[in-house]
């Protein structure tokens, strides 16, 4: 069989990070090729290189497609050759109809006048192919996620697709919809359309994939051929996580005391769709001086859990019980949650954590202005000394505390966010992806700060998609999947394999 696509020696760097390092992948014509790897392994970056989001010249290496070298300068170039990518976050316009979405930017028109009857007729055909029984006039917003996914695929088909790339297509689908989608892929395969399938659900991959390429830390680990022999999930997991643990985490002797924080039966529903339960009966506890991790894949509901807990900042119909030092506490607004000793450092610093146009000083004190003011009047001197104090203690690299947050590096921005919450003097600090997008040196400093907090007798709840980080930092790890806690490990007995197993096993149910 001929290769439809060969990517050779692809290397792509971002300032300070090498996202892809000499990656090779070969996709044969008419096969379903799975691409697996942990979060941050470089799967999405590789697909962006392929589709031209990162144009020729911004990466090094060679892309050969249908036997010729290709140099894409944008998505339209790759689409013209039949390479269509369907992203995890669907790119549909909710308030337009199915037909309008399918032909968006590609309308059947003469001199700019759209032939709607032709568009509708074509849409009907396409919907029949993907097995979606809806009128072309239905607005996309009225469709469920599974059906929207099918609309995306119909849109791809309308563009004469030859290589279909699906980024986590089944992540938010239920089992029936997932099966339908996988059957569709097999059907395409029979018609000679090749696909690249990015997925965390290894059981699905073993069902449909002809070959599997494993990425880890931006490099190709191996390509497994599923046609010759059946590949076990254990075999794939070993490839995904098999990195050596280096000395990347500061040493700490945990001094764990009594239970200080407990959550029972915590439930939350999607903010727009009240029938979707995003957090399901979560119960956990944190001891004094303990760092507790929550592992899970993106979309497992970890951030949603943390934000619903922190002043109901996410979701609706939230229920459950929270106790601190054995007493129930009210966390129904952010103000009350903070007053009761809870702090939440968000995963998205720029959108939810910082006021970028304001300086370090103002960002540090904003969650606890009472701490620097008397009778509603801010005491400049006290505020300044607090800010200077944190700048020194957290080693925030800046010209002064008057530097605007927007001009700080990711690591220093994160230190400002942490300073803000430390100044509110919490008992429980929830850290959501505390080291996302931060370089290795700054990560070590953040880890040191987290350890110091635990040693000071606080409880830390750490959400991270980087499993080595959780294993290196936490005393205990919960595993979350599809809104529920599905496993709990002491750090001594936890391993990446065990965590992956817990996720994969429950994902199959």
């Amino acid at each position: 069989m001929n290769a439809i696509l060969e990517m050779r020696g692809i290397t792509k760097s971002f300032p300070g990070v090498k996202a892809l390092d000499n990656v090779n992948i070969t996709v044969k014509a008419g096969e379903i090729h799975a691409l697996v790897g942990e979060n941050g392994a470089g799967k999405s970056t590789l697909m962006k290189v392929l589709s031209g989001v990162y144009p020729y010249g911004s990466y090094s290496g060679e892309i050969r497609y249908e036997g010729r070298e290709r140099r894409f300068s944008g998505i339209s170039d790759s689409e013209a050759l039949g390479i269509i990518i369907i992203h995890q976050e669907l790119a549909l316009v909710p308030l337009l109809s199915i037909a309008e979405n399918i032909f968006l930017g590609n309308e059947p028109a003469t001199y700019g006048v759209i032939d709607w009857s032709l568009a509708f007729a074509k849409t009907k055909e396409l919907l029949k192919v993907v097995g979606l029984d809806e009128s072309p006039e239905t607005l996309v917003t009225n469709l469920g996620v599974g059906k929207q996914q099918l609309v995306e695929i119909a849109k791809a088909l309308s563009k004469k697709v030859k290589l279909l790339i699906l980024d986590e297509p089944t992540a938010s689908l239920n089992e029936r919809d997932s099966d339908a989608l996988l059957r569709l892929l097999l059907q395409f395969k029979a018609q000679g359309i090749s696909s690249i399938l990015i997925s965390h659900k290894l059981n699905e991959i073993s069902k449909v994939a002809d070959a599997i390429t494993v990425l880890r830390d931006g490099s190709t680990v191996e390509t497994l051929d599923c046609r010759a022999e059946t590949i076990s999930e254990d075999r794939i997991i070993r490839g995904m996580v098999g990195r050596t643990m280096e000395d990347r985490y500061p040493k700490r002797e945990p001094k764990i005391g009594e239970t200080i924080f407990q959550v029972e039966n915590w439930c939350a529903y999607h903010p727009l769709h009240s029938n979707i339960q995003v957090v399901k009966n979560v119960g956990l506890k944190i001891h004094r001086g303990e760092i507790v991790g929550i592992a899970g894949l993106m979309g497992a509901g970890r951030t949603e859990f943390a934000m619903s807990l922190f002043g109901r900042s996410y979701g609706q119909n939230i229920s459950g019980r929270v106790t601190l030092h054995g007493k129930p506490i009210d966390v129904s607004t952010v103000e009350k949650a903070v007053a009761n000793g809870i702090a939440y450092a968000t995963e998205d610093r720029k959108t939810y954590g910082l006021i970028l146009a304001d300086d370090i000083r103002k960002n540090v004190t904003i969650a606890n202005l009472e701490g620097v003011s008397t009778n509603l009047v801010i005491d400049d001197i006290r505020e300044l000394s607090v800010a200077n104090d944190y700048r020194a203690k957290m080693r925030i690299r800046s010209s002064s505390v008057f530097q605007e947050a927007v001009n700080l590096s990711g690591g220093n921005q994160q230190k400002v966010v942490l300073s803000k919450w430390l100044f509110s003097d919490p008992e429980i600090l929830i850290l959501d992806e505390p080291t996302r997008g931060i370089d290795v040196g700054a990560k070590y400093e953040i880890y040191t700060i987290i350890n110091r907090l635990a040693d000071a007798g606080k409880g830390v709840l750490m959400i991270s998609s980087e499993m080595p980080e959780l294993l290196g930092m936490c005393d205990r790890i919960y595993v979350m999947n599809e809104g529920s806690l599905v496993a709990e490990f002491a750090s001594t007995e936890a391993s990446q394999e065990k965590i992956m197993h817990a996720i994969v096993k429950t994902g199959r149910r």
């Binding site: 904003i366 009047v377 801010i378 700048r391 020194a392």
Partner: protein, 399 residues
Amino acid sequence: MDTRTADELQAPPSKTSWMEFIKAHFRDYGMLLSLLAIMLFFQVVTNGTLLRPLNLTNLVLQNSYIVIMALGMLLVIVAGHIDLSVGSIVGFVGGLAAMMMVRWGFDPVTTTVACLIVGGLIGAAQGYWVAYFKVPSFIVTLAGMLVFKGLTLALLGGMSVGPFPVAFQRLSSGFIPDIFGGQGFNYTALFLGAASVAAMIYFSVRTRANQLKHAVETAPFGLFLFKNGLLAILVIAFCTLMATYRGLPNVLVIMAVLVALYAFVTNRTTIGRRIYALGGNEKAAKLSGIKTERLTFLTFVNMGVLAGLAGLIFAARLNTATPKAGLGFELDVIAAVFIGGASATGGVGKVTGAVIGAFVMGVMNNGMSILGIGIDYQQVIKGLVLLAAVSLDVYNRKK
């Protein structure tokens, strides 16, 4: 791993030279300098008419209501919103005051209090939709603009109502009486000017001492002296000029007190800081425990009260309430705030900037009227100045 110690990281900033400091703080000083340049220009081309005591008094009286509303509008814009209804509120509250005093026989004090409350209620009604129902403020206040323009016409029955009791007229036409009994020279005016200069110098010296104590970047001492000296001379010169005419108008004192109050609230109080945080990043502010809805609501209530006050002052100045009062004021007020360096996306803007912006507009209005430029070209020029000022600001920020 970084091996630098905290001390190295905290090394005090190197001494800044004048030029570097001015460059770094161009936005702070640039506004004031442009206002002075514009004043100087009109002083020259009007052959000195601009700064005659009589004209200076007029300038203050003509601009007071714009300045007062700019204070409220600054908070609204900093919070990330806009209020288009203020001109109509001015008209409505002025009309209400006229009806209450002239037709229904209320005394000026009751009328004033009632009108301020009504202004606050109007602000609350609009703020409610913006803050709790998340209706865009542009829409809500556009609706308010139409509603209150209509209600003003209905209230006044399409006629002008006046004149007002003398006590009420004093709000705009009165002057602070001279307690020292000077002949032809109002010593009280000079005294109040000197007192405010003393207060100003006291606070800036104190701030500077704090800055030095905490090794914060400070303006070079020479520049500090120059800036404070210049401001002191300007204030004293202004008060001396006013003293040779009839002294300080009541409105000027109200305005000055409000400006000082709002400068303090925005710079030094928790509520002020929270409004900036809300406008800078509403989501982050909310996740920091700030009650963003209530704060938004309050900024609109505040705007309503100030628009009500402006309505009273404007009516008192004309000594009659007309259905057309306040027409287009919202544009001058919004322009003043943006000329003063506020950001349309919220989170950025200063009280001093808004006040200077209001006076830039005022001086241009006044200067061009003296020169006899028609209302047609005055608007063209004002529009271009607004565009130029904001483009310059955007350009500076990009650098």
